[in-house]
């Protein structure tokens, strides 16, 4: 950057930490609310876990996943979802509102990357409750998987692929939110998001047969949401499966492609933004 530049490029980390601190201050101001939010998101997941505990009373495996392998799958879901909900969910929801009210003007005026600004403005700290429940569940389940020999690279790759999963979901979410610039209002965004990601919360092996196989292919290769949970969960719970090698490679590819595609969609959408305020 030249010496005569008008402004210094902002420190993205510094800005993000400020956002995180502000959010924490706000969350702590309404402490009872914070606790209720934390408990409620944890109870949803525990109920979900209870459901599978009941199902595993009737069968020893689901599509090749035994009980504790599946619990690893569930804790992976919890990790990814808690991170997405903590960092991106409140912001994506607000984006549609900002488009509708014209508040996006302020974000566009700031000397910082707009996508960064609208994606990370708020951190929902209460969503981290599930992160810790997931840690406990993972620590409980992994040693109970029969015949699983842990290696060091699993502990390197697992968090890495969890983060990649978060990036893929973020891309889908910001692309969906960006459509609200075109559509004016996107009230059912949250619903749509929920129903789409619903497909990602199951092992990909269950999508089988006349309808299942094409569905699996669509959600692997076109909108890669099946990669999100399946790849890290497999790396941890079933490290010796042969498909893991190409899946790990494909996961990396899918992450890069999703992020780039969503960035492109976001920027295209911004071009058609017309301020809504009077």
């Amino acid at each position: 950057m030249g010496a005569d530049t008008m402004y210094r490029s902002p420190s993205y980390l510094g800005v993000f930490l400020t956002f995180a601190r502000n959010s924490l201050v706000r969350d702590m101001t309404f402490r009872a609310n914070f606790i209720i939010d934390t408990i409620s998101s944890i109870s949803w997941m525990i109920m979900n876990l209870g459901f599978y505990a009941l199902v595993y009373r009737e069968t020893t495996s689901i599509a090749g996943w035994d009980k504790y392998q599946f619990f690893v799958f569930i804790s992976t879901t919890m990790f990814v979802n808690s991170l997405v909900q903590a960092f991106f969910m409140p912001n994506a929801e607000e984006l549609s509102e900002q488009v509708r009210t014209g508040g996006l003007d302020f974000a566009l005026l700031k000397p910082i990357d707009t996508q960064f600004l609208v994606s990370l403005r708020k951190v929902a700290w209460s969503s981290f409750g599930n992160f810790f429940v997931a840690l406990i569940l993972l620590a409980y389940s992994v040693p109970r998987i029969q015949g699983l020999e842990l290696t060091a690279w699993q502990f390197v790759l697992y968090p890495l692929y969890v983060v990649m999963g978060v990036m893929i979901l973020y891309s889908v979410m910001i692309a969906l939110a960006a459509t609200s610039i075109w559509l004016g209002r996107n009230q059912t965004l949250y619903d749509f998001w929920f129903y789409i990601t619903n497909f990602s919360r199951y092992p990909m092996e269950i999508y089988d047969g006349t309808w299942g196989t094409p569905l699996r292919q669509v959600f692997t290769f076109i909108v890669p949401i099946l990669v999100v949970i399946n790849v890290p969960a497999r790396l941890m719970a079933k490290p010796l499966t042969r498909e893991n090698l190409w899946m790990a490679g494909f996961g990396l590819l899918a992450t890069v492609a999703s992020v780039l595609a969503s960035r492109w969609i976001f920027n295209r959408a911004l071009l058609s933004y017309r301020s809504a305020s009077s």
């Binding site: 109870s43 129903y195 269950i206």
Partner: protein, 271 residues
């Protein structure tokens, strides 16, 4: 009497029109609500394939799918989104005062407006429901005999009333505690898990299944569904219908009593 009927008719009409404003969002939302059924079908197909048995706790794979579809139908009757929290908000913000001044009964007003909302909902939701049920017709064992079908219709109607009066009673608690959102959340969790919305309650281990049978929760989704599938017959069916009726009447009375008690201790906050 006639003037009164005219009042209620007007309220009903206003509520219908209010609801029709959002019809587009509504129809789309209803159709999307069936998407999780798709994953449920795949999940249960995998479960039954892995279990290697034709039936689990008396349910075949087809039964489970039909069961999920039927619970969605039952929940279309018994779920009351925003009812309890709406009453709580009205109490907190003082809006409830208008029912103390105007010659309109709060519970009847809420019931009427809820019926209006539901009627509109059924008008719009019938098409997506019919489509999905038609597409999934092979999962159903066929129409039950007439008497069973009548019991099914009765249980749906009563589940609407039970859902309404249960939720309204929860809302009345706001007269005692101004902030009831956490309480409502706990209630919602119980409803979600024990109404059988997530899984057929047969999957619960004993003694939980027996205990849950005596609570009002199964009647909100589980009971109408198993009646249709003829999983509960004879004496058990009669007993279920009696319990459902008893719970409904019980909550009807409790709702009225708590409203009256609440009115007596209410002091009008807010402008």
């Amino acid at each position: 009497m006639l003037a009164r009927a005219a009042t209620w008719w007007t309220i009903f009409k206003i509520c219908v029109e209010e609801r029709l404003v959002y019809r587009g969002d509504f129809a789309l939302g209803t159709l999307m609500r069936f998407l999780p059924i798709v994953t449920q079908i795949f999940l249960w197909t995998a479960v039954f394939a892995s279990a290697g048995t034709g039936s689990i706790q008396g349910f075949t794979r087809e039964d489970v799918v039909a069961y999920y579809l039927l619970t969605m139908l039952a929940r279309a009757f018994s779920s009351m989104p925003g009812l309890a929290s709406g009453i709580a908000r009205q109490v907190r913000e003082g809006e409830i005062k208008k029912f103390l001044i105007q010659p309109i009964d709060l519970i009847s007003y809420l019931l009427l407006s809820r019926i209006a909302h539901k009627v509109v909902y059924y008008l719009i939701a019938t098409a997506p429901f019919a489509l999905v049920f038609y597409l999934c017709r092979d999962y159903f064992p066929g129409w039950p005999p007439l008497d069973i079908f009548l019991a099914f219709v009765y249980s749906l109607m009563m589940s609407f009333l039970l859902g309404f009066f249960m939720e309204a009673t929860m809302g009345m608690i706001a007269f005692w505690f101004l902030e009831v959102s956490s309480l409502l959340f706990v209630h919602m969790l119980f409803v979600f898990f024990f109404s059988g919305h997530m899984f057929p309650l047969e999957f619960l281990p004993e003694p939980w299944k027996t205990i849950i049978d005596y609570t009002p929760f199964p009647y909100l989704a589980y009971f109408p569904s198993v009646v249709f599938l003829q999983k509960v017959e004879g004496a058990a069916l009669v007993r279920g219908l009696i319990l459902l009726t008893a719970w409904t009447v019980g909550f009807m009375v409790l709702c009225r009593l708590s409203m009256n008690a609440g009115y007596r201790r209410y002091s009008g906050y807010g402008g």
